[in-house]
């Protein structure tokens, strides 16, 4: 009896502690952000980094090769800080590519996988152990942890795609009349209880640019920026956004550029 009383007293103190922090921050929603903060400190997404690292150095695919010669823009095999500068223009493909499409280019060219197969599996089903692409994208981005997002526009195609991304951010269509801006154009907004990032502010764009790939609590899996865009488009009632599509790269270049200066910390943690 005394024991259980002590336990409930402790539980009560713990509740009070959480409540105290929540009320100190002023608004009722912040009770939720305290919960998220607690989960973030023990982010299960960390487990995917080692898996991605193993996949990166392992000899795989029809060509039995590792990804060590993959060039993410800093030279073959140079991963430090590479993700911080993506998307960028690559002369060998003559395209602006984000981290994920560049990774696919290497998996096709170096390892001999087919593009179609990779795209089919890139986004894993919720509750699964995740895809190779998701783990690799996290590992490669994690090699920029602690560095600042620094997307620069130099090549003409980078300027063109950046402006297209901005245009697309505000392009309304479909039966909900939504563009990105309807949900992400103002501060302190929520869809039901879910906080929306204010992406037309510097701080909001920085959050976007520095927290993907992220562990998605509701899916028990690491998700990438390609997934995030695909899922938004689904909610907007538009047709399926292709993995690695031009629209996705334009939006990512626009947002990451606006988020320059943010310190990369992946895996992020999302509800």
């Amino acid at each position: 009896m005394q024991y259980s009383r002590a336990v409930s007293a402790m539980a009560c103190l713990a509740c009070l502690a959480v409540w105290d922090v929540a009320s100190a921050q002023g608004t009722p929603e912040n009770g939720l952000s305290v919960g998220r903060q607690m989960l973030q400190e023990d982010n299960p997404g960390e487990l995917w980094i080692d898996r991605g690292k193993a996949l990166f150095y392992q000899k795989r695919g029809p060509k039995n090769a590792s990804l060590e010669q993959c060039d993410f823009g800093m030279g073959p095999g140079k991963l430090e800080g590479a993700a911080a500068r993506l998307p960028r223009y690559f002369s060998d493909t003559d395209k602006v590519q984000d981290l994920e499409t560049r990774l696919l280019t290497c998996m096709v060219q170096l390892q001999g996988f087919t593009h179609e197969e990779l795209v089919k599996r890139a986004i894993s089903p919720g509750g699964s152990s995740g895809s190779d692409v998701e783990a690799l994208a996290l590992y490669i981005t994690s090699r920029s942890n602690g560095m600042k997002v620094n997307v620069t526009l130099q090549h003409q195609k980078e300027y063109d795609v950046y402006k297209a991304g901005e245009y697309l951010f505000f392009r309304r269509s479909g039966q909900t009349d939504f563009s990105c801006a309807q949900c992400h154009g103002e501060a302190d907004k929520r869809i039901r209880l879910q906080d929306l990032i204010h992406m037309t502010s510097k701080k909001g764009a920085q959050e976007v640019a520095s927290t993907w790939p992220a562990y998605r609590g509701a899916h028990y899996v690491v998700r990438t920026m390609q997934w995030r865009l695909n899922d938004c488009i689904w909610q907007m009632r538009l047709p399926d956004l292709k993995y690695g599509s031009d629209v996705s790269i334009a939006l990512t270049l626009f947002l990451n550029h606006e988020g320059n200066g943010a310190e990369i910390r992946v895996p992020g943690f999302k509800r």
Binding site: F170, T200, P239, K242
Partner: protein
């Protein structure tokens, strides 16, 4: 947005010096490229691909950086919106608030995943996503204004019912280019469903109007 414009000009001229030629494209080039991207970035049946095509009002309402509408543009959006509104065949604008309550809390219907349309008996009205509803209801969004006490504040006269119906059918008839979807005009909701939403907002027995 003015500050940004200035930054771009500074950046653009710096880039000109640095690379000789690369710089920001003009708006027509940007539009052409972006629209080409829309054309190649989605896998969609011809029917679903129509959702990507902007109507005249959507084009006007897609200003970069949320720039202000001109007076003429605002007038055109309002005119198109007014012309779009259809009324239920029996003319009754106030339906069943209980059905409206269910619809207000339903955010599903008509989404597309891997080419398959999410077909329900009917589309949800999506209200809960963006609007506060009954008093003390916590799981509600705040993108749109609170609807708590909507009928208490306005009464339930025929004029109020008509205005409410029209605002749900096509919000842009009163607030051109607002964030609110044109739920009736785009076909997301039927006129009958909208009468239930009107009842949910106006009926004194509805949870919206309880203290």
């Amino acid at each position: 947005m003015n500050g940004n414009g200035l930054n771009w000009m500074v950046l653009a001229s710096a880039a000109l010096v640095a690379t000789g030629c690369a710089t920001y494209p003009d708006p027509d080039t940007t539009r052409n490229l972006a629209e080409k991207m829309v054309g190649n970035s989605f896998s969609a049946s011809p029917v679903h691909a129509k959702r990507l095509v902007q109507d005249r009002s959507q084009k006007i309402c897609s200003k970069i950086g949320g720039a202000k509408l001109t007076r003429e543009e605002a007038a055109e959006v309002v005119r198109l919106a007014r012309a779009s509104i259809k009324y239920p065949q029996d003319g009754r604008l106030v339906g069943d608030w209980k059905r409206g309550d269910q619809l207000a809390h339903n955010g599903a219907g008509d989404r597309i995943r891997r080419g398959k349309l999410e077909k329900r008996k009917e589309n949800g009205a999506l209200c809960q996503n963006c609007h506060a509803l009954a008093p003390r209801e916590i799981n509600v969004g705040n993108v749109g204004p609170s609807l708590t006490g909507y009928g208490l504040q306005r009464g339930n006269s025929e004029a109020v019912a008509r205005l409410t119906y029209e605002r749900i059918y096509n919000a842009w008839a009163y607030t051109p280019c607002s964030n609110m979807p044109r739920l009736g005009a785009t076909g997301h909701l039927t006129p009958e469903q909208i009468t239930h939403m009107v009842a949910f907002l106006l009926d004194p027995a509805s949870p919206i109007n309880k203290k």
